[in-house]
Amino acid sequence: MMTSTSLVYLIALPLAGSAILLLAGRRSDKWGHLLATALSASSFVVGLYQLSLMLGRSTGERPITQKLFEWISVGSFKIDASLMLDQLSICFVLLITGVGTLIHIYSISYMSHDPDRRRFFAFLNLFIAAMLLLVLGDSYLNLYVGWEGVGLASYLLIGFWNQKPAYATASKKAFVMNRVGDMGLSFAIMIAFATMGTVSFSGVKEAVDHTSTAALTGIGIMLLVAATGKSAQFPLQAWLGDAMAGPTPVSALIHAATMVTAGVYLITRSNFIFDAAPTAQLLVVIVGAITLMFGALIGTAKDDIKKALAASTMSQIGYMILGAGLGPVGYAFAIMHLLTHGFFKAGMFLGAGSVMHGMNDEVNMRKYGALRKFMPITFATFGLGYLAILGVPPFAGFYSKDMIIETAFNSGGAKGIILGCVTLLGAGITAFYMTRVMILTFTGKSRWDDEAHPHESPWLMWLPMAILAIGSLTSGYLLSHGDALVNWLSPLFENHAEHAELLSPLVVSGLALAMVAIGIAIAFVKYSRNEVAAVAPTDVSIFTTIARQDLLQDRFNEAVFMQPGQVLTAVLVKTDEAVIDGAVRGVGRIALGSGSALRGVQTGFVRSYAALILIGAVALVAAIWVVTQ
């Protein structure tokens, strides 16, 4: 593999920005956001430069590495701090820095009234750096550093307004649930090291052949656990909705476009493991399928625009995971959906931010309505994103999502049919809830409070939205034209044998569009024709109630983990005091007690002392008597 000396700048630039802003403190308030944006942009430029270099090399020589220094080396556990850029990473690098830069720009305006804007940009830069490390690391342990780094950045950004207790709690929840996933990654690394003696991607890839399936399945499942945590997949998805506590640009960047897709990256990156571990792969598919339905169902019931979008994100990532779980055929489609999703979902989030910006930070869609007139640009960009996510041709989603649905159907047997149906149904539900969002927000009658004065956002905000909207419009076509992305990525993946086609692409598209149409229709019937209540109605079906509560996931966690955990903690605290320390104190008390009791021997009477001596003498004599028996 070729080596490079410039990869490090990708990470170093935003990292330096973060460090400068944090260390300089208030002194950098005036120019901090500009610096951060500039550094993010320059990182993007470096990324483009690397892309151009890569394009200039032949297929086999495209991946490059840079060894920075020896990080950990103990015995056979040798980890270098080294970076690797290949066809997969470059996609992510560009997505991260590109979308990231747009969101930096957006945030300059969006956060302009916040006294801590500089800190916000520092965190954003930190996130960019960590995310880049995640995708550039050449071993699982390096990836792990970025993995937790983005977790930290996410925590800091979700809790950016942590003076609100609920937000602080949300950030904590995100971190802790991510850590559960991280634990999975730790296990995966440990198993890998114990069985293969290496944790670098290349090393593991080589070792797969002579490693047992059981071990590979273990690693795969643990990687999946990691992915579920980071990518908000079932059963570790509960944090994502709460994570909307963070400023909207954060939701757009981290919780829509980039970080949450890290799980997809991980699974795709580990394709050699999953390909060799069918059980793990099956689990990936199952998790993806469940989550996509899960997210879609939650999305139908949310009145909070950001939470609805978050549920959608969850669902869309479910698609990606599902796609990645479909094996060699699916990886590229998963990545493609990831990239297109990065555009349209980020665009929609920014749109939501724009709406909130104009609506005094109101997030309840029931208090929107008729915003189309007041925010035309936002409506337009949001609408493009909407079409993209629905998979309406020729928007981006059409290319990427349909590929996944198709691949699902074609994955063979009952599995293929079930998965295909699930993805189709998901598409329909997606259409329903996205249409609901559109209707509630932009059409109908206004349901705002009196204080609200909706207005279009400044250009600094709508420009990024516009760019992303263009992406939503074009990216699908560009990436799939001539199987561009698939071919680009194919050197990384095993060659695959084609399954017999169950359904042709045209049929799939037709079915999908039909489902979408049904979804849209239901939404129109339900929301456009009826008056929408400004206050969420309570006399709703049990399903709505459950969906509003994230399908009871929080309740489940509360009842199964948190409450028993709290009880356990309380019991242990008491036990520690009463039993363990009590035992120690008990020993002391026994000593003191026996001391006090033995004091009783000392009656103060000479005669009893003499009796003691006499008893001693008798005892001695008796002992002699016994001995000489």
């Binding site: 009477f605 005669r607 003498a617």
Partner: protein, 99 residues
């Protein structure tokens, strides 16, 4: 009748003396019981002296008498002192110091 009988007698007297120390309360009687024990020991010395056929035992007995005399002097002085302070010769009354 053999010389060993003296030893038995000596052991008996010693025992009685020892018990006396425990059961009697008058300091002087207690002290006399101790003297009884010393005398019992002396009887053993004399008897062993005879059995062993040397006079060492008798010499020890003699020393014992002298030492006992000294002890008596000191002991009685102490008893008298405490009697004068307390107006009581009962050793049970002297039990300020305990526990």
């Amino acid at each position: 009748m053999d010389a060993a009988n003296y030893l038995y007698l000596s052991a008996l007297l010693f025992t009685i003396g020892a018990v006396g120390v425990v059961v009697r309360r008058n300091a002087i009687v207690v002290f006399m019981c101790i003297e009884l024990m010393l005398n019992a020991a002396n009887l053993s010395f004399v008897t062993f002296s005879r059995i062993n056929g040397d006079l060492n035992g008798q010499v020890i007995a003699f020393f014992t008498m002298v030492v006992a005399a000294c002890e008596v002097v000191v002991g009685l002085a102490i008893i008298v002192t405490i009697y004068r302070s307390r107006r009581s010769a009962s050793i049970d009354d002297a039990s300020l110091l305990k526990r």
